[in-house]
Amino acid sequence: MAFIDLTSLGKSFGPTTVVRDFDLALGMGEFVSLLGPSGCGKTTVLRMVAGFETPDSGDIRIEGQSQLRLRANQRQIGMVFQSYALFPNLTVAENVAFGLRVAKTAPAAIARRVEEMLDMVGLAALKARYPYQLSGGQQQRVALARAIAPRPRVLLLDEPLSALDAKIRVALRTEIRTIQRQLGITTLFVTHDQEEALSMSDRIVVMNGGRAEQIGTPVEIYNQPATRFVAGFIGTLNVIEGQVGRDGGAYLDCAGGRLPLPDGFGAQAGERLSVAVRPQSLRPVAVEGDGLRGIVRHVEFMGAFTRLHVACGAMTVLVDCFARDLAATVTVGGPIGLTVATDEVLRLSA
């Protein structure tokens, strides 16, 4: 039995359905991210778990117990908000102590726990400050300490890093994950940033239009995107449409030429099909034989790699290559051939 079970959750606001048929099971101590574009219902799922919204259908169980009849303040679920939501009238230490004081913990125990929490997030020196005297990153650390202090059963984080600078965001990402691992606290993390989700999660739920499009480990989600939406959302991706070769050959005829398909791709001869190829899977070669051809339209130096924009008929394909793979023949406006290893052609279901 999973630690947390969300079963066929549904929620509408008036006529608009925001979450539909949402199923998810979290193991004890697992870190799961809800990933999706803005407005796809991530926050709504989180708020239903927290008890701030009531689902129209489905159930939320923790250790087998339905939570629907419990109010938010009875659920023992910690929450971290994008806007930090620290109490402006309380000091850092008082903020962290809030949940413990509400639970009527003994003062000595509160003091000990607050100290422990502030040490954990590295803010012991700032415990007498007020929130307005802290930077965004510090405030979010306090918010994390405050949420964890009363030992909640589950930790929910709603885009906790979105309001922070890039550098702090990356540092805090690691910190949150380290603390989460140390404490073994089951965590549901909402983000619209694929890099964040890929780097932090045990598993990722990619959401679209209120539904879970795919649930899997970061590696699975990245390497085997189940749908076109997932493929497009996780990283930059070339979606190539074409028709499977009629003469029984395992290749796709498309605007740019011929794309070889892996064995057991399961496509019917003559079927129209979309496949996905990552920019880094494509390799520039001389213009001959099989593979795609096109005209180099644009060359972008990205630092670690170089990105080519190649026009193959009406479609533009992005190609990322390292300097050593970059044929000297690549010139803007000139022709180019592209190959791809067959096992790096991704099948998309929709």
Binding site: F52, N73, G78, S83, A85, G99
Partner: protein, 260 residues
């Protein structure tokens, strides 16, 4: 210096004269109790009058009761409307404005009819009961100011997220209000409180008709029986109002946790 600039200064000076002239006149008159010289005799008489001290003390205590009653009614209401029924806000706002259009005399006659000694709840039968009615009447009169002050305070904080943060930490509604919302709108409550204070100190109709020894009726009585003392009283009352304004400003600036 452009003509526009001169024009705005002229308007400012005109307005200042318009406001200040009556005050200066009153002040000047209040100092003339002794023939031929300026003196503080009128002030001495007023401040030394036991009636002055008693009625002022009564009204001060009553204004505190009124503020407490007002906050207890308005703060949870404004909070709830903001959090759960934002669409009802115009309606609630309209209701809180009613005391501005309904004269106090109607309120007090309503009270007397409802709570007279022959009624089920004979509040006018005892002086404590009548004091309560008076505080209730004043709380009604201060409703427009109290509601606006508190609602403005609530607008300045993220009510919803703070409430949810507190709830996720286990807090119930009372804790949320008492420990999170009220402390963060303390300055707003205070400014509402001082406006209430100004109303309670000067109010005549309700206090007179309920026959309570309040400061308003005392001022009126003084006005119809003495010459110089009413002017001194007016200056004192005016001074108290300005002192409360100054206190609001001071406290607003001194609040340690806001960076306004």
């Amino acid at each position: 210096m452009t003509a526009k600039r001169i024009g705005s200064w002229a308007v400012f000076i005109l307005a200042a004269v318009y406001f200040l002239l009556p005050l200066v006149g009153t002040l000047e008159f209040s100092l003339r109790a002794r023939r031929g010289v300026y003196s503080l005799d009128a002030y001495r008489n007023v401040l030394g009058d036991p009636q002055f001290q008693q009625t002022l003390a009564y009204s001060l205590i009553l204004s505190v009761a009124t503020v407490v009653l007002g906050v207890l009614i308005v703060a949870p209401t404004a909070f709830w409307v903001r959090l759960k029924m934002p669409r009802l806000r115009p309606v609630v706002e309209f209701i809180t404005l009613l005391p501005l259009v309904i004269p106090p005399i109607i309120i007090v006659f309503g009270y007397i009819r409802l709570f007279n000694t022959a009624s089920i709840l004979p509040l006018t039968g005892s002086s404590r009961g009548t004091d309560f009615l008076l505080a209730a009447g004043y709380a009604t009169l201060s409703l427009p100011y109290m509601y606006r002050a508190i609602d403005t305070g609530l607008r300045a904080i993220d009510v919803r997220t703070l409430t949810e943060a507190a709830q996720s930490l286990g807090a119930g509604w009372v804790t949320v209000l008492a420990r999170v919302i009220l402390p963060n709108i303390a300055v707003a409550i205070l400014s509402g409180a001082f406006l209430t204070f100004a109303i309670v100190i000067g109010e005549y109709v309700i206090a007179a008709l309920l026959n309570r020894p309040a400061f308003g009726p005392y001022m009126v009585w003084m006005g119809s029986n003495r010459a110089y003392e009413p002017a001194a009283l007016a200056v004192i009352a005016f001074g108290m109002t300005w002192a409360s304004m100054a206190v609001i400003q001071f406290l607003a600036r001194r609040t340690r946790f806001t960076k306004v």
